[in-house]
Every structure is written in C-alpha cells, then in structure tokens.
C-alpha cells in the first residue's frame, strides 16, 4: 500500500517526528511504499544540518536522512515554512529537498493513506 506521511513538529519539543519515523520504518519493513514524507510547520526543523544533538541522544535529522537515502524515500520540506524558520538550501541535511506545499497535496493524491504526526 502507498503511504504519505506529514510531520508537523521538529525533533525536540514533541514526540511527533519520532513517532513518524518509527511508523515509516515499520511500514517500509512490511513492504509498503512511502510516497513521500512532507515536513511542514516546525517539522521543517527535522531537515536542518545545523542540528547537533548531544551524543547520548538519538539524531533524528540523521535518521531521516539515512532512511531517505537507503529506501529512496522523498523527504520534502515546505519552502515557505522553511524560509520563515531560517532553513535554506545550504543547511539542508542530505536526502531532504525544499519544495512547494503542492507536494503535500500531491502526496495526498498519490497515496492510499496520509498519516499526520503533530502536536
């Protein structure tokens, strides 16, 4: 089945991105297709390569980045939400790309299910 994922929160204030990551990982392991992970609102902070968690903490930016590359999953970051929060092309972690909000609607059209993770 085709899933679209929407992540509305960043890696630290809320559990949303962790839950989304765990769900996405489990879905891929079960053979489902992830059409796209779209990062909106403070969720754009998941894409920042300026993030440096402490060494004993999980690094969600890195985890998403690796998942995107390993499974060839599109990690799309809303460009206007990103700009507002200081996220530009230069500080995107590998595997993420800036895109318009149209890609969120496109994910809804292309997926069998859209699952939203937020606060």
């Amino acid at each position: 089945m085709k899933f679209g994922i929407l992540v509305n929160e960043g890696p630290f204030n809320h559990q949303a991105s962790d839950s989304a990551y765990q769900f996405t990982w489990a879905a891929l392991q079960k053979g489902h297709e992830i059409v796209r992970v779209f990062f909106y609102h403070d969720g754009v902070n998941n894409a920042s390569n300026l993030s440096e968690p402490q060494s004993d903490d999980r690094n969600l930016v890195k985890l998403w980045s690796e998942l995107g590359q390993e499974f060839d999953v599109e990690l799309m970051v809303c460009v206007s939400a990103g700009l507002r929060r200081g996220l530009t092309e230069e500080n995107l972690a590998p595997g993420f790309e800036l895109s318009g909000l149209g890609q969120l609607i496109g994910a809804g059209i292309d997926s069998d299910r859209l699952i939203v993770f937020g606060d």
């Binding site: 899933f3 559990q15 839950s19 769900f23 489990a26 079960k30 489902h32 859209l114 699952i115 937020g118």
Partner: protein, 101 residues
C-alpha cells in the same frame, strides 16, 4: 471507516473528548504518545473509553506505554495493545486516518 489517532493526555487537552464526540460506530481509535495515559483503568477517562468500546475498537501503542512505565494490567479492559507493525496494519486496514492534534 476511520482510524482516529489521539496523541495527547485527556488530562491536558480535550482531543480525546472531541474525537469521541465525532467518532462513528465501527471506527478505530489509536492512543499513542501521551494519548496512552487515557487508557489507565484507574483514571477519570476510563469511563468514556469503556463506553466507546461498546461500539468502537480502541488500541494503544505498546512502545509508548512501556516508555511511560504503564503495563497491560493497568489498562481499561478491552483495549488492544499494538506495536508499530500493528499501527501500520491498522492504517492499512481502516480507510482513512484522522489525527486529533
């Protein structure tokens, strides 16, 4: 039918109340993150979940229970525990997902 997800404690937000008000007979409700707190049999929200269980399915995400020191024996009877694989199966099994954020 819809799978509703609730990720906030009923003692902090009204998300679960709103979900239960709108949710139709036969739908599923998955409690995750702080939403798992609603599943406690000793809590004030237990009554509302027991009523919901009469015509809806209620699930709780096990990893979020474990993380908060809660166990199966602490839960309202009838609530089913699922892991992330189970979460994925639920999403696939219901027609749509509505996240009560």
């Amino acid at each position: 039918m819809i799978l509703h997800t609730v990720n906030k404690s009923p003692y902090e937000r009204i998300n679960l109340d709103s979900c239960l008000r709108v949710a139709r007979i036969g739908c599923g409700i998955l409690l995750l993150e702080d939403g798992v707190i609603a599943a406690l049999a000793t809590g004030a929200a237990a009554q509302a979940l027991s009523v919901a269980l009469s015509d809806k399915s209620v699930y709780v995400l096990g990893p979020d229970l474990d993380a908060r020191g809660l166990r199966e024996c602490d839960l309202v009877i009838g609530i089913k525990i699922v892991d992330y694989d189970g979460f994925v199966d639920l999403v696939a099994g219901y027609d749509t997902v509505q996240a009560w954020l």
